[in-house]
Each structure stands twice: as structure tokens, then as C-alpha cells.
């Protein structure tokens, strides 16, 4: 009797969580019909930060590209959205795609430059690139120069789907815009997580996971590390750019300082990933929830929550470097998004 083996990443926990994720997604889609506006706004915040965190995690957690300059893509994507709507009259929803494309275009020269550097130099180099982009954008008078600008009223009103949402839920146009932004954020976050999950279960994804675990060993089995870095850096820039465009489309106002904030779009994102657990898909989800509840819990104490966040990040990095999810997974062996292959016997 011959036995054949197949490698599979399927587990029971994975199947269950896959079903749970689908149910959650359906609930999230119909949520605006009964949820309050503030809940929708909170969820928008969570979903966009989650997207940024997933992409940073993809960069740092899998290919070791510890970038401190992701705000370049958030800000550039957001500014391109404003530029496209103000100067060329593009519908903001359509302009989101341009946010991604322009961020991707920015990522190409950035990568040529930054990939010459390694480790700490890479981190600082990406940060300086982000500063250069910020200072250049601040010279762009058509979108308000250094002080920034607001989305014009007619562009705001023309957003695809807003009228339909107004009628569907019987809400005002401002609430309808929030719902639209929320749905887009939901789609983006779901596509990001789903896409990364799918990618990690392909052959290329296996190469990526191998790189995460041991660069030298991965190279010796034929993984092209440079090519993986390029793919990951460009994909992360594309997604980060769309997220940036979406964040500022919902905000309605943009300025160079807010769009290129290193604290908000990189430091907080790094905290989210590390607190949750770097190098896993589950980590950023846990991290963003911790981040959000911390913010809610201490909303009345001003800057204290940032102090607590900083201390929590430091403590986790020192004492549980695999993050909350890593700590949990090591003890239970559970993976909600299983990417590890196991051998299965088929008779």
C-alpha cells in the first residue's frame, strides 16, 4: 500500500475562525443600519489603523525592513487624493486608487535608495525620505502649501454612493459619508488581511515565511531575498497609500504636518504591531484593539494615555517580544490564520 503525503496549512481552528471571520464580515457590512454614528467612526479608525499595521507588519515582521518612513506613503497618498479631486475633478472614491498608484510610484525610487542601506541606516534613511516628501508637498501651493487645505464642498457631495446611502439609511449626507468611508475601510482591511493570508499560503508566501524565520537559511534553499523585499515594499506602499487617502478623505482636511506625522502613522503603528505580536496576522488585530481601548479608557486624561502606551510598548518588547498574540499562541498552539504547513497522510 502506498502512502501519499500532502502539505497543508488547514487546521480545525483555522476553519472555524474562517467561518467566524465571514460571519463577522457580514455583520460589519450591515452594521450601519443599526449602529450609532460614533461607533461607525470608531470602527473606521480601528480598520484604517489595522490596515496600516498589517502592512508595516508585512514589511518588518516578514522581510526585516524596519521602516520609520511609512508616513511618506500615507501622506503622499492622501495628498494625491486631494490633488486629484481639487485639480482634476476626480471623484474622491475613484481617487483612492490613484492614492495607491502614486504611493507605489514614490516607493520605486525610495526602494532604489533605501535598499542600499541596512538596519539602522535603512530606518533613518526612510524617515529622511518621508521628511523630504513632506517638505516638497508643503511647497505645493495648489493644495494649500504648508497650511493645508479642505476638501471642496462639491467634491465632497459628489462622492459615489453617498446619495444612495442617504436614501437607504435615511441619514444626513455627513453621516452617509462616514458610512461610505467605513465600508471602504472595511473592504480595504478585509482585502489586506485576506490578501496577505492568501499570499502567505502560496509558494511565494512560504518563501516569505522562510525569510522571516532565517534569512541565510532561506537564501540557501533558493529564495530570492531581494526580489521578495521589492515585492513586499511596493505592495505595502500601495496599500498604505490607499489607507492614507481614505483616512484624509474621511477627515476632509489635510495639512503636511498631520499627513506626514511620524508619531501617528509610524510610531503608533509600530506599537500596535509589537504589542499585538510581530510576524503574525493575528498580532496587529489584537494590537489595534488594545490601542483603541487604551485610548478610550484614558480619553479624559489627555496625554497620559500616550505615556501608558509608550510604557506598555517598552514592557512588551522587553518581556514578551513576541507580543500578546505570540504569548498566547505559544501556550495554546492556536492559530486563527494558520500558515504553517503540516504533513497529511492520504491512503
Amino acid at each position: 500500500m502506498t502512502q501519499t503525503y500532502t502539505a497543508s496549512a488547514r487546521t480545525r481552528a483555522g476553519t472555524l475562525s474562517g467561518i467566524a471571520a465571514l460571519i463577522l464580515l457580514v455583520v460589519a457590512i450591515v452594521l450601519p443600519s443599526f449602529a450609532s454614528r460614533s461607533l461607525i467612526q470608531d470602527l473606521f479608525f480601528i480598520l484604517t489603523m489595522l490596515t496600516l499595521a498589517q502592512f508595516w507588519n508585512l514589511l518588518a515582521g516578514y522581510t526585516g525592513l524596519v521602516s520609520v518612513g511609512q508616513q511618506a506613503f500615507v501622506g503622499f497618498g492622501a495628498y494625491m487624493l486631494f490633488g486629484a479631486t481639487i485639480l482634476w475633478g476626480v471623484n474622491p472614491v475613484a481617487a483612492l486608487f490613484m492614492s495607491g498608484v502614486f504611493a507605489l510610484l514614490l516607493a520605486i525610487p525610495t526602494a532604489f535608495f533605501a535598499f542600499r542601506l541596512s538596519g539602522a541606516y535603512f530606518a533613518i534613511g526612510t524617515w529622511v525620505v518621508a521628511e523630504v516628501v513632506r517638505l516638497c508637498v508643503a511647497q505645493w501651493q495648489a493644495v494649500g502649501g504648508g497650511t493645508g487645505t479642505s476638501m471642496p464642498r462639491d467634491a465632497r457631495d459628489a462622492m459615489w454612493g453617498v446619495e444612495w446611502i442617504e436614501i437607504l439609511f435615511d441619514v444626513r449626507s455627513s453621516a452617509a459619508r462616514d458610512i461610505l468611508a467605513y465600508w471602504l475601510a472595511l473592504a480595504l482591511a478585509a482585502a489586506t488581511i485576506g490578501g496577505i493570508y492568501w499570499f502567505l499560503r502560496t509558494r511565494r508566501g512560504l518563501a516569505l515565511a522562510a525569510l522571516r524565520d532565517n534569512v541565510e537559511a532561506a537564501k540557501s534553499t533558493g529564495v530570492d531575498a531581494t526580489r521578495m523585499k521589492w515585492i513586499v515594499f511596493l505592495v505595502a506602499a500601495f496599500g498604505t497609500g490607499i489607507a492614507g487617502g481614505l483616512i484624509f478623505m474621511q477627515n476632509g482636511r489635510i495639512s503636511p504636518d498631520s499627513a506626514f506625522s511620524v508619531t501617528e502613522w509610524t510610531a503608533f503603528v509600530i506599537f500596535i504591531v509589537v504589542i499585538g505580536g510581530i510576524g503574525t496576522l493575528e498580532g496587529p488585530i489584537i494590537g489595534v484593539l488594545v490601542f483603541f481601548f487604551l485610548q478610550e479608557l484614558m480619553a479624559d486624561f489627555g496625554a497620559v494615555y500616550l505615556i501608558v502606551l509608550g510604557l506598555l510598548g517598552i514592557a512588551i518588547m522587553l518581556f514578551a517580544p513576541t507580543g500578546l498574540w505570540g504569548f498566547f499562541a505559544k501556550r495554546t498552539g492556536i492559530a486563527l490564520f494558520p500558515t504553517q504547513r503540516r504533513l497529511e497522510t492520504k491512503r
Partner: protein
């Protein structure tokens, strides 16, 4: 003539950046620690000097002398208790922990001192100037530049002429072998960080007297400091001074062409140097 004056102003500005960077260069050179809280530590030093001045009424220069031992202790404890645990092959732990420190320091200062901008007053010295031939130079910028030279001379003397300096160099080159020779790398690193924070205090003095500061100005200072260190090359203090001067001259030249290009010109100069020499101009140590 105006160009020469611009370049001289740039060189003097470079002295300030070299002061910001000297402490960073020291810890980066010895333990490869990317300290993202360095800028915030400078701002913290400036507030400390401010407190000493307002409590005792001392001149800021003497207040800095009072603040320096305190800052040394802060650095020593910080390194022993926290930062030593982050050192290793992976650069993420030091990066995240110092990012965390940066956020903690900024917001603690914000809670303690509000967001109002502050300044250390030097009296008439602030506006004094010296004429050298046809060029007018501010006394304070000259003093800053002189301090940068003295700081680097002293650090180099410690580095190459003393026992602790030998320990610095040995642990920088190879911590494992150094510890076989009876050196305790964790203590050496703590001393290095303490020393770096003494330099930070001097940098804070000039930060506070030459411009306004508030709890949030740290990261902008940090980025110039890092640029100076990287341009100069890992472990070379004179290289750091050269890096500071390159940034300073690029900034004043940029500002002379268009005031809005000042900071941009500095960053572009940094990117060009890094593109041509990815390891900086005068690297002493190798990675």
C-alpha cells in the same frame, strides 16, 4: 562676499548640529544603539536647566553644570535597566523601546510644563557679535561651535587615552572577546550612555539659548543629529562634526536661495552623501 558669510554661518550652525549629534555618535559607535529618544533627551535636558535656573537663579551655563551629573545618572540607569536588554542583532527592540521612550518623555514634559514654548535667557550674550574682517558672526554661534570642538576633543581623549576609552573601543569591536578580558560590557555601555547624556546636557544648553523649545521639538533635532552621524560614518566623532557642517552649510545655502528650502536642502545633502557613500564619509568601525 555674501556667499562666504552664508557658508561661515552654515559652518557655525553645523557646530550646533554636531553637538546634538556627538552623544548619539558615541552610543551608536560603541553599542550600535539607534536611540530615537536622543532628541527628546536633549529637550528634557533643556527643561532641567530651565528648572535649575528658575529655582536657583543661576546663569544657564552654571545651571548646566548642576544638571550634568543628574543627566549622567539618568543615562546610566536607563542603560542598565532598559536599553542593555534591547541590544543584539535585531534592530527592532532598540528602535521600538527608544521610540516608546520618546513618546513617554514628550508627553511627560507636556504634562509637567504644558505646550508653551520656553527659552533659556543669556542676557546680552544673545545678541552680541564679533567682526572678523568683513564678516559679522554671532558670539553665541561661535561659542556653540567652540563647545562642539571641545566636546569632541574631550571625547576623543577619553576614547583613545583612558582605560574606559579602551574598554569602549574593545566592546565596540567585539563585546564577547572584550568580556573575556574582564570587561563588563553592560557597565561599559551604561558609562557610555551616562557620558552621552552629559554631552546631551551641553547640547540642551545651546538648544535652549539659541531658539525656543517646547516638548515636541525633539524629533526634528534628532533627525539632523542622525544625519550628521551617518554622514560622518559609524564611530568617527570628527566625521560627525564634518556631517554637522555639511548639513549646516547645505541649510544656510538653501535658505539663501529660498527661505523655504532651508531644511529640505539639508536633507537632500544627506541623501546625496548616502547615495554616494552608503557607509558615510569616515567610518571607523565596521558592521
Amino acid at each position: 562676499m555674501i556667499w562666504i558669510e552664508t557658508i561661515v554661518q552654515g559652518v557655525l550652525l553645523g557646530g550646533l548640529y554636531a553637538l546634538f549629534a556627538a552623544g548619539l555618535s558615541l552610543v551608536f559607535g560603541i553599542m550600535r544603539l539607534v536611540n530615537l529618544a536622543h532628541g527628546d533627551l536633549i529637550v528634557m535636558g533643556a527643561y532641567l536647566i530651565l528648572v535649575v535656573v528658575s529655582v536657583s537663579g543661576l546663569n544657564p551655563f552654571f545651571a548646566a553644570l548642576v544638571a550634568a551629573p543628574f543627566m549622567f545618572t539618568v543615562g546610566w540607569i536607563l542603560q542598565r535597566a532598559v536599553l542593555n536588554r534591547t541590544l543584539g542583532e535585531d534592530i527592532l527592540p532598540p528602535l521600538l523601546v527608544t521610540f516608546g521612550l520618546s513618546v513617554v518623555i514628550q508627553n511627560t514634559l507636556l504634562e509637567g510644563f504644558t505646550a508653551d514654548s520656553q527659552r533659556l535667557s543669556m542676557g546680552p550674550l544673545e545678541t552680541a557679535s564679533v567682526n572678523v574682517g568683513p564678516i559679522t558672526m554671532g558670539t553665541l554661534p561661535i561659542l556653540t561651535f567652540g563647545s562642539a570642538i571641545v566636546v569632541i576633543l574631550v571625547l576623543n581623549w577619553i576614547f583613545y587615552r583612558t582605560a574606559i576609552g579602551r574598554a569602549f573601543r574593545a566592546t565596540s569591536d567585539d563585546p564577547v572577546t572584550a568580556s573575556l578580558m574582564g570587561i563588563r560590557p553592560d557597565r561599559v555601555f551604561a558609562t557610555a550612555m551616562g557620558l552621552a547624556l552629559v554631552v546631551v546636557t551641553i547640547a540642551a544648553l545651546y538648544l535652549g539659548t539659541r531658539s525656543n523649545f517646547d516638548p515636541y521639538v525633539g524629533p526634528a533635532r534628532l533627525i539632523y543629529a542622525f544625519e550628521a552621524v551617518i554622514i560622518g560614518g559609524l564611530g568617527s566623532l570628527w566625521g560627525t562634526l564634518a556631517g554637522g557642517i555639511i548639513i549646516g552649510v547645505a541649510q544656510t545655502l538653501g535658505a539663501a536661495i529660498n527661505p523655504e528650502w532651508q531644511i529640505l536642502a539639508g536633507h537632500v545633502a544627506f541623501l546625496i552623501v548616502l547615495l554616494v557613500r552608503p557607509r558615510g564619509l569616515f567610518p571607523r568601525a565596521f558592521d
